[in-house]
Symmetry: D2
Subunit: 152 residues, 4 copies
């Protein structure tokens, strides 16, 4: 099995950023009958991971750089507007809100059709192996801002 | 977003049963650097859910029947042969091993290319709302054995 | 087994609110070797649940009231300062920041010794069974503000 | 916060092995209203981790040995007899069933009062950093069989 055989598995790049379809399974719900609030936090991370993957700046590319830098979440604000339920097919939407030398702020949403279920703002930094912040690598920065194209 | 727009999101029916591609995310790994063993148990459940979904005998169809029956796991044996890692794209394969009046035994595997990482045998029963076992509904039985076709 | 035999299992009420010790297990970590960021969100929920439990206004008491009201998270801001690791024993601290007729704002932190690893502000509302917001029941309000004592 | 201040946080050694009280939180349940089946697998791992911790042969002690050996689950059989529910306080019981040079078989159960909810047999091996099986270290073996005392 390769990503080529299942082209949708990492979602798709869009003019605004990225979108990833996510199915709600048993594991994502709780006894209230709805999706557990921390499950959306996992969904958001999947969206960010696949956005970076399709831009060619995922874990593997980063780990191969000098110092093995990695992205780390520093801050997130999540608003829960409406609940998702078992079997729902929701969309995780991710776009770049702001990028500075050392900090990336993403806007994310979980939507179901026209409904915005969850909205989030997530601040991500790049750290080296000892956890110290460092500058966002130039290639990552250029691809996130659209000034460099993603890999073919 | 609908399943029609993302046709692969529930995997696909195969001559042997069903297969579902699953991406390994941060949430699925642990500090050993590999996939956490209980994450495979979640992957297996996703495979079973989508197999039943594509056969048209998922939660929604069941919940609409008299007594609102539901599938419940009664027993599982899981063998862990080789580990998966972050970013891997693995396949969850599911097939019917045996079906009796009240019990369904599934064979499942998590594979990566030609490697069988995890193998499992999962016994599922149908219970009513009070948790009492009941017979597997005829339509579910016929679709699981292939004597009735899945919905178009 | 009863809570009486394991008195610490729900943490303890403090002058500021509540604190709950939480052990970091395999399941809470990810391949970076540190605790996965969404695991802290689960820890915070455990702290809130046990705070309400010790105040006598947990799920069971709420579910027995007319309309079966329930708490739901509406908004959360989480700051990740330092990481926790496998085997760490961390503390989840919870206190009431603000309470209005329909909204409860909690301050929470995950600490390890003198270090504040994670800080959060969580807005919780009360909803009825159809998801509509309703007023916070008087007893809950009085116990959360300290104007009524928790059950003995 | 130290383990000394919260003595129950790792459960306790018993003549049969170990027992650990576990609270059922939101995160452990699913939309059926009951505990999600993979949550018991997490509970079982917590029991094993704390059993090894109290025997003084946990991750830290192992990681300090030459070759940094680690325990890995090779096989597990889990039987689900009765469900647990939100707020339940369950007990995870662990005992050694068999130990050979390279393989440890544990019997585990999740109980609630006199009810045995879940029973499991879990085969664990010791692997080195490259994943190759190696012999169980002598001290671990002696403490698991009771021929050496746990640390004071």
């Amino acid at each position: 099995v390769s990503a080529r055989d299942w082209p949708d598995i990492a979602g798709e790049l869009t003019p605004e950023g990225h979108r990833l379809p996510v199915r709600v399974y048993y594991e994502d719900t709780d006894f209230s009958g709805l999706v557990y609030h921390a499950s959306y936090v996992r969904f958001l991370e999947r969206g960010r991971s696949d956005f970076l993957r399709l831009l060619g700046i995922g874990h593997r590319e980063f780990a191969a750089e000098p110092g093995a830098p990695a992205f780390a979440v520093r801050r997130m604000t999540v608003e829960f507007h409406r609940p998702a339920r078992i079997d729902d097919l929701v969309m995780v939407e991710t776009s770049v809100q702001e990028i500075t030398g050392s900090r990336l702020i993403l806007r994310q949403a979980v939507t179901r059709g026209a409904d915005r279920l969850v909205e989030a703002e997530v601040t991500v930094v790049v750290v080296d192996q000892s956890g110290r912040p460092r500058r966002i690598p130039a290639l990552a920065r250029d691809r996130l801002t659209g000034s460099a194209s993603p890999p073919a």
